[in-house]
Structures are given as C-alpha cells and as structure tokens.
C-alpha cells in the first residue's frame, strides 16, 4: 500500500529540507519526494517509506519529526496550486506545532542527562513555624 509521510525539521536543526531531499535522491529507495518549506513529503510503498524515514531520522534524531499524511503529494484535492492559493487545511496544525519543535528537540537531546526539574512552588510559612521564630527572637 502506498503511504505518504511528512519529514519535518526543527527550526534549530542543522539539517535543511534540501539536505533531506538530496539524501533521498541519492538513496536506493524508489519513492516520490516533494520538498517544502518545513521539510519534505515522501510517498511510496509502506515498507520502503518506513525504512527511508528511519535513515533520515538518523541524520538528526532529536531534530527531525515524522508525521503521517492522508493525501499523496501534489494531490489536486489538497494542492494549493489547484485550489486558487492559500495554505492546505492541515498546514495550520503543523505551523502551530512547529513553534514548539525546538523545545521538544532540546528536551529529546537532553534525555539521559542530569537536568533541572521544575521547582515546586514555595509554600507559605506555617503559623506554627512563625510562632516558633517569634519565640526564638
């Protein structure tokens, strides 16, 4: 079965969509690839695409994200060239989540390292303790 996947790069990643497209062009895999501003769209047989995205992810494991897509690349039902312009309906979700990708990338990269945990909010001084402090004085 033919499947389509987005390969999306974090804005802080050193890998560019064109690097991914070049890697796919130079690979042995028989897939259709479309370069976009946020990554690439890959279309091909399920096994082939899964193996390929695994290889692509290894370029930058924390900075490359994979998402499923229902429609094939350039499909006239979704392609803005055929719909008179405007973003594809699903783009807004990608755009909204893309803003979080650098944070998620850094979180994935720092996994296993000793990291600071979110400090708990300080509780107000109890009346009992306040009373003790006054008596100590």
């Amino acid at each position: 079965m033919l499947v389509t996947k987005y390969v999306i790069t974090s804005t802080e990643s050193n890998i560019l969509p064109s690097d991914i497209a070049m890697k796919i062009y130079g690979s042995k895999y028989d897939v259709l690839v479309k370069e976009t501003c946020f990554g690439v769209i890959v279309n091909g047989e399920e096994d082939v695409v899964n193996a390929l995205v695994k290889e692509i992810r290894s370029l930058d494991p924390a900075g490359i994200f994979i998402k499923d897509r229902g429609f094939p690349p350039g499909d006239p039902r979704r392609c803005r060239g055929r719909r008179g312009g405007g973003a594809r309906p699903g783009f807004y979700m990608i755009e909204s989540e893309s803003k979080m990708l650098p944070m998620i990338s850094r979180a994935l990269a720092s996994e296993g390292e000793e990291t600071e945990t979110i400090p708990e909010k300080k509780k107000p001084l109890s009346i009992k303790r306040l009373d003790e402090i006054i008596k100590e004085g």
Partner: protein, 145 residues
C-alpha cells in the same frame, strides 16, 4: 507494541513521540488515506459516501449533525482499536478533521469511558516544561510494554 490514540488526532509531536518510543500511533491521516487513495473511488473528490455518516451512528445519535457523524466514522474506529491514550488539554490550534469542537468533546468522552490508560498533558511553553512533557510521555509509554 501498544496502539496509542493521540488527541489532537492530527498532532505531529504526539504521533512522532509515540512512534519514536516503539508504539503505534493511531492518527486520522491513516483513516483519511484509506478513503482518499482507495481505487475505484465511489464519491469523488473525497470519497465520503452516505455510508460514512451511517458508520458514525454507532457513536452519535441521528439528530447529531452529519459533520460530527462523518468525523466519527473516521475517528470512532481508531478509538475502538486504542489500547492507551495521550490527551493534550487545550491544544489551541485545531483545523480540518480535528476542527469540530462537538466532535472533539465526543472523542475525549469516548476515550475516557473506554477505560484504557490515559495520560493527560498540556503543550509545553518553556524548556523545563518540554523536558517534563517528553519524560512523562516516555514513562507512560514504557509502562505499557
């Protein structure tokens, strides 16, 4: 490997983290693909036939708008398949098949009443929260193995 439904059902971050941690993410594009790329399309351009709202009747009453029932025809079978769920509260931006508030309420209700393990989260707004977000998802998914 567990089948994990994510909410929002079109989320890139959640589906990526689930797949990255060795589980199967149940997402709407998979259901859309079956309709949109099927050979011998019955109802161009999107192949949504009168059968889809009928499938949705399993999850919503007949007086519920057909848009909700049509969406449930896609999302309902995913909920039935799910063995665990990750729900992000107030995701902010929801469009396309995830852009109907009534459907989203029903989806969250059906997930919660299904009785599968659920992880409730909010999207991170800073680095510390992002680390917490990823750690919570990893701990939850490791607990499913």
């Amino acid at each position: 490997m567990a089948k994990v439904i994510v909410y929002p059902p079109t989320s890139m971050i959640l589906s990526d983290l689930v797949e990255r941690m060795g589980h199967k993410a149940l997402v709407v594009p998979e259901a859309v693909r079956k309709l949109a790329t099927e050979k011998g399309i019955d109802s161009p351009p999107l192949n949504v036939t009168p059968e889809e709202p009928k499938k949705g009747l399993r999850y919503a009453a007949v007086d519920v708008p057909s848009g909700v029932r049509g969406r449930m025809a896609l999302i309902g079978p995913l909920i039935e398949e799910a063995e665990a769920a990750i729900i992000v509260q107030d995701p902010g931006c929801l469009t396309g098949c995830a852009g109907c508030s009534r459907t989203n309420e029903l989806v969250r209700l059906l997930i919660r009443t299904k009785g599968v393990p659920i992880l409730d989260l909010s999207y991170p707004t800073n680095d510390a929260e992002a680390r917490d977000f990823v750690q919570k998802i990893r701990a939850f998914l490791e607990g499913l193995k």
